[in-house]
């Protein structure tokens, strides 16, 4: 009886591990994007937006406004690639500065940066795929 129980527990454990491994391809991709994204963020974004995503006073908007990032999810690739001009409201504050363009970034790098930002600083949006970046960029470039 005891053996049977043990066997049952073991097979359940096996099943869990097996099921998890099925998920792991996607999971792995997310982890890869997030990790590379962190490095790219430190190189390209952190000077202005800071290591905590807090921005700088009224000069540089924070990346902690989860609602803003959710609402503008499809615009994020264009903002990073082409920069930003004009007034935006983030965290209830109005910012009207210039964000420089980073047009030498590859689509996959933009996807990694967005994956990092939208899953840090209180955000939790999951993977942002390279295909999504390419599609979003086509939309804003054709405008």
């Amino acid at each position: 009886m005891k053996n049977k129980l043990l066997l049952l527990a073991f097979s359940i454990a096996c099943a869990v591990v097996f099921l998890n491994s099925c998920q792991s391809d996607k999971e792995l991709e997310y982890i890869k994007y997030y990790t590379n994204g962190k490095l790219l963020y430190e190189e390209h974004c952190q000077n202005c937006h800071s290591s905590t995503g807090a921005g700088l006073s009224m000069l540089i908007p924070p990346l902690t406004d989860t609602l803003f990032l959710k609402k503008n999810r499809s615009k994020l690739p264009c903002i990073i690639k082409n920069g930003l001009n004009g007034s935006i409201t983030v965290s209830g504050r109005v910012f009207n500065e210039q964000m420089p363009a980073d047009d030498h970034l590859a689509d996959i790098e933009i996807a990694e940066i967005i994956t990092y930002i939208t899953n840090s600083f209180g955000n939790k949006q999951g993977l942002f795929s390279t295909a999504q970046v390419s599609a979003d960029l086509q939309k804003c470039n054709s405008r």
């Binding site: 000077n47 202005c48 800071s50 700088l56 006073s57 009224m58 000069l59 540089i60 500065e97 210039q98 420089p100």
Partner: protein
């Protein structure tokens, strides 16, 4: 028991050592001069000193070295459209500003190196958005030559136009600590929070030094 008391006195001795006042070195060039005082020839050292200057600040008021007499101050070089190290420098400098806010013996002096764009009007907008009020932290505008000369010759900070640099200007992120006699007493990497922490400790030392120098 005897051993214990020896250990205790040793500890006391160590403690007394660490209590000796820390002094900051005087940086920059120096030269020895001989002069005659009361018939005797003595040798004196002349340290590098910040020469007289005058710039327009963010309120379009002409300020000069006299506004820094009997004050310690931190000088740096930046420009408002700088996309690289300036935001980091001023994020760190804000901590210094907050710590010494209202202290009449402490000032901050930020020179713009972009005299085509950063007019006093734009410096004012920048200061306001950064959260800086009053004139304890001066954001100053000067003609290209005067700013670059005082930067490189007096504060020993490299600045320059460079089309390949982000934003069109290259400069170093040093925070230069200057004492009440306008001698250079420290240089800290303004992009590194731990060095700025150290600078604030050194500023306290300098304030303690008072008017002895």
């Amino acid at each position: 028991m005897n051993k214990l008391s020896i250990a205790a006195s040793f500890l006391l001795f160590l403690a007394s050592c660490s209590e000796s006042k820390k002094q900051l070195p005087i940086l920059g060039a120096r030269e020895a001069v001989e002069k005659t005082v009361e018939g005797k020839t003595i040798t004196d050292t002349i340290y590098q000193t910040i020469p007289p200057f005058s710039f327009l600040n963010q309120d379009s008021v002409l300020i000069s070295n006299k506004d820094f007499d009997n004050k310690i101050y931190v000088a740096d070089f930046f420009f408002t459209r700088c996309p690289s190290i300036c935001p980091v420098m001023h994020r760190n400098m804000l901590k210094v500003y907050e710590k010494y806010k209202g202290n009449p013996e402490v000032k901050i002096l930020s020179h713009t190196i972009d005299d085509t764009y950063d007019t006093p009007y734009r410096l004012k907008a920048y200061a306001k958005k950064l959260g800086v009020e009053g004139d304890q932290w001066e954001f100053v505008y000067g003609k290209h030559d005067s700013v670059y000369t005082i930067g490189e010759k007096s504060y020993l900070v490299a600045v320059g136009k460079d089309e390949n640099a982000p934003g069109g200007y290259m400069h170093q992120g040093w925070f230069i600590l200057v004492d009440k006699s306008k001698h250079l007493r420290g240089a800290y990497d303004g992009t590194k929070p731990d060095q700025v922490e150290q600078m604030m400790k050194d500023m306290d030392v300098l304030l303690d030094e008072g008017d002895e120098k």
